[in-house]
Structures are given as structure tokens and as C-alpha cells.
Amino acid sequence: MESDSKKPRWGFLIDLRRCIGCHSCTVACKAENEVPLGVFRCWVKTVEVGRYPRVRRMFLPQLCNNCENPPCVAVCPVEATWKREDGIVVVDPHKCIGCRYCMASCPYGVRYLHPTMNIVEKCHWCVHRVERGLRPACVEACPAGARIFGDLNDPDSGISRMLSLNPIQGLKPDLGTGPQTFYIGMDNRLVEEEETS
């Protein structure tokens, strides 16, 4: 991360210590991006740990990691998906041929097939809002302030300060994808254990 660059380099941080599992992010995302029924750009995984009466619920909100080294971009045969200079990975709905190679290649399963447009879509951190100086819809909607979006190149941004002061985790760091969605307070059980419904 070049700290002296003027251009923004966006990043996303989820503070799991604050998440209350209310799914506001899921709903706000659906409304903002007109995400069709049955598919999701962001969602919350819930895991129950411990044995009664000592039990606890943990939450893992997920969205596109907008990877530093995105495998979905490499495999797309028609350059319909690419990483912008500001780090956001976008899909051009007019170019996508719907081969779904990117979906098979995504280690995080964040891409989905639009059921009527027959193309692949994904979370792009509400790039249309970000370009107008607004925060992504899910960040705006989170009542607990667990979601922080900002410029990684600006050392004074909220996200940069949080990242420098806290231990940080990411999903599947061993794959070398360089996820740019960071977590604070992630428990291994959140990743390893099955979703509790």
C-alpha cells in the first residue's frame, strides 16, 4: 500500500466485535443494487458455539473481497471483469457472456448468476455511490457501525487508523488472493463450522 499516493485505494473493514447479526447490510444491499430474489451480494453467516447454557452466537458478514490479485479477473475469457485503479473489481454487464468461469474460480463464492439477465454479478462496494463521494449502502445501513469503508492510501482515514491499531484477519489468506475486505475479531470457528440456521 503506497501511503503517499494521492489516488484513493479503497478498502473494507468489518469489526466483528460490533456486529449484532441484524442483516441490515443484506437488506440495504438488496435494495440499493436491485439484487434479484434468491441471490445475494452480501450476507451474514451465523454460527452458534458452546454448550447450553454457555452458548454464544457469532456472525460473519461476507461480501466481495475485491482481491488484490483476483482469480476471477484472470480467468474471464472476454475481459468483462477487471480491477479498477482504486482496487474495486467490477463486471461489465454488456460484455459478460455468462460462462460462469469466474464463479467457479472465486474461492469465496461471492459471484452469482443473474437469473433473468443471464450474466454474472457481484458486490462492487457500491461503486456508483463511491464515485459520488457516498459510502456503500451496507455501511450506511449498519446500525452498530461494524462496517468501515475508506481509503487505504490516506493514513488519516478511519479504516487506515483501525487497520494500524488492531490485529487483522482476512478470508483464505493462504490462496494468495490478497483480500481487501478485512476483519477484526474473526474466530476460526466462524470459517470452519457450518452455518446455524
Binding site: V39, K45, V75, P77, I97, A104
Partner: protein
Amino acid sequence: MRPVVSKVTRWGLVAVLAAVTMVGLWAVGVRAYRGLLVANFTSISPWGLWLSLYIYFIGLSAGSFLISSLVYVFGVKRFEPAGRLALIQAFGCLLIGLMMIAIDLGRPERFYRVITNWNSSSVLAWEVLFYIAYMAVLGVEIWILLRPDFHVLSRKASWRWARKLYGMFAFADPDEDLKRPTPQNSFFLWALAIAGIPLAIGVHGGTGMIFAVVKARPYWYTGLFPILFIISALVSGGALLTFLAAFFLPMEKEKKLPLVKGLARLTAYILLADLSLLAIESFVALYGDVPDHSTPYLMILTGPFWWVFWFVQILGGSVIPLFLILGPGRNRVKWLGVATAMIVVGIVGVRLNIVIPPLQTTWAGGLPAEYHSSLTTMEGYVPSLNEWITSFGLMALGVWGFFLVRKILPLRPVDLEKET
């Protein structure tokens, strides 16, 4: 040629085939109208039956081409009578494979973008170039081989329009006599046959590479994968060629047995190599027991579709055919044909087990079951009715294509055909 089945049975089979084709084409129409909603894909399992059949037919094509190179590059005289059939089969299977991928694409009408927006870092984009080059080589090679026959037929065919059409394809002076091309006397034939070898390996090894580079699915992510693809392509291509030669190649019976026997044995040996590679790969995965890698294998061996592996792939697709080819059926054309047909079906199981299980077991990041798809609340992917019907319809089209080819293209040199 002596008919394989009675006239009544034959017309019955044709009626069934016609019905399958018509229903299949209707289902293709439904698929075109409603889009991928008709398929049971989910967010974590984006590929299914169509893609499995696509790699199956590309494999059939590449395998039969490589076997044809035994004749046209390495000069194996024994397989010479099946050379043309192998090439025509390679071309036909490639077309069916491409139809399977066309129906699988969300926006098939944008397919040209693979050329106009070609992405050099995508294995799939490279594959498309391979397919185009391979198709060109195959087409020209078949044309060079058949040209003298077209020339003869342009004089002998019963209808005037047929004579005209053959004459057009012969592309030669009507009074001139064309020499039959062999790899020895035709540089082009030899060069194309040689150029085709890396192309065919690229076509199917590359198809394996599409999967092998996906680090998100450890089951695919091994260096052995593209090799497994090529070996099993040779198995399926050789098996289909043997089956077609056994039942449909116009030839004297005494000359046919050595050909069919040789092809069946070759197929059986490659099948043994294929099974060994499969055993090595699954042993490594199961011994290491890294969940992402071993779970798909456990699913194949003991999951809800365990019978695809044990019955389709192993018992019906390997054990019984191997027993027939190397044992009691070894001197009977009919048994060899049946055995290799069983291998052809068995490889469908191999392809399904390549594509579907690793997509069922990968970490879904907690996408709850009801999130998986807009259409199905089922855990995991099972092909939808439309996927089955369209697949059978497209395959039936392939069978019609073969019947047509058998009528209009000389599978054996025309002058030799007369002898039978």
C-alpha cells in the same frame, strides 16, 4: 453389409430417436426463451450437466483425432480402414461439444466477444483459439482425404444435383484422375496430421487446464488433471471409434475383426492407464485428507450419487468391458462393439464426477441452503429436467448427423467399398 438389427427394430429405434430429437429441440427453445432459469445451477455450483457433456464430447473428439494420427502420421497400417471414420467422428464430436457449451452460456449471442475482447490471461480464451485452429485442421484434412472420392462420385452419383455438389467439393477438372492421397505422397495431409497432434493435445489438455488452474477448487487444482483429461479422451475416443467401426463401417467381415480387435485392445490398455492415474490421484487426496481436496473424492465414492462411480464408471465402464475385450469377447466383433459402447457410456460418469462433486463441497462461506439458488431449495446441484432433455436432444442431433454422413460421405474409399 448385413444389418445389425431387424427392420422393425431399426424403424422403432429411428422413431425413438426422432421423438427424442423433437422434444430436445423444443426444450432448447424453452432454454433459449427462459434463459438459465431452466437449469438448476446455484451460486456455488455454477457448472453442471451441460459442461460435463461439453468436456465429454471435446474429449471424444481429441481422442479419436489422436488415434487417427496413428494412421496418418505413424503409418499404422492395421488401423488404416478406420482413419476416415476417426477424423469424421472427431469433427462431429467437436460440433456437439460446442453446441453443449453454446447452450451452457448465459449469453451465447455474445460468443464473438471471445475474439473481440480476447483475454490473454484466460485459459478459456486460449482454448477458443485452439478449437478454431483444430476445427480448421480437421476440416481441411477430411477434405484432402475425401477429395478423390468426391471426384469419383461427381461422375457416379445417381442424382444430378448430387453430382454437381460432389463436383463442387472435388474442385478438380472432371476429366482428370485424382491420386488417392496418403501421408507418403501428400505433403499437406502429412503436415496437417502432424499439426493436429499438438492441437488435439492442446484442445483437451487445455480443457483440463481450464479446471486445473482453479485454485479455489483443490480437487481440480493438480498438475495431473490435464494429463488425466488427455488419457481419458483417448479412452473415450478409441472406444467410440471401435464401436462405430464394429457396427457401421462397411467392410468385409474377415478384414474387420483384426481392425476392431486392435482398436479395442488399444482402448483397453489406455483405459488401464487411465484407471491407474485415477487411483494415484484419489490415493494422494484421501491420504492427505485435506478437507477441500478429499471431500469431493469421498462424495464420489460414498455420496448420494455413489452409483455413478461404482456402477457407471467402474463396473459398467471399466470392469465388464475390460473382461470382454481381453477375455471371452476378444474374437467377436459384436462383443467388442458392445464392450466399447459400455466404455463410451462409462466416460460420461467420469466427466460428471469431474465437474459436479468439487462444486458441491467447496466452502460456501455460510451461504445458507435457501440462498443457493432462486429456483431450488435442494442442497447441492442435480440436473434439471430441461438440462437432461436438451442434452439428449443435442446428442440425438449428433446421431442424425452421423446417419447423414454415412449416407453422403464415403467412410471407406469408394472403389474399395464396391468390393464389399
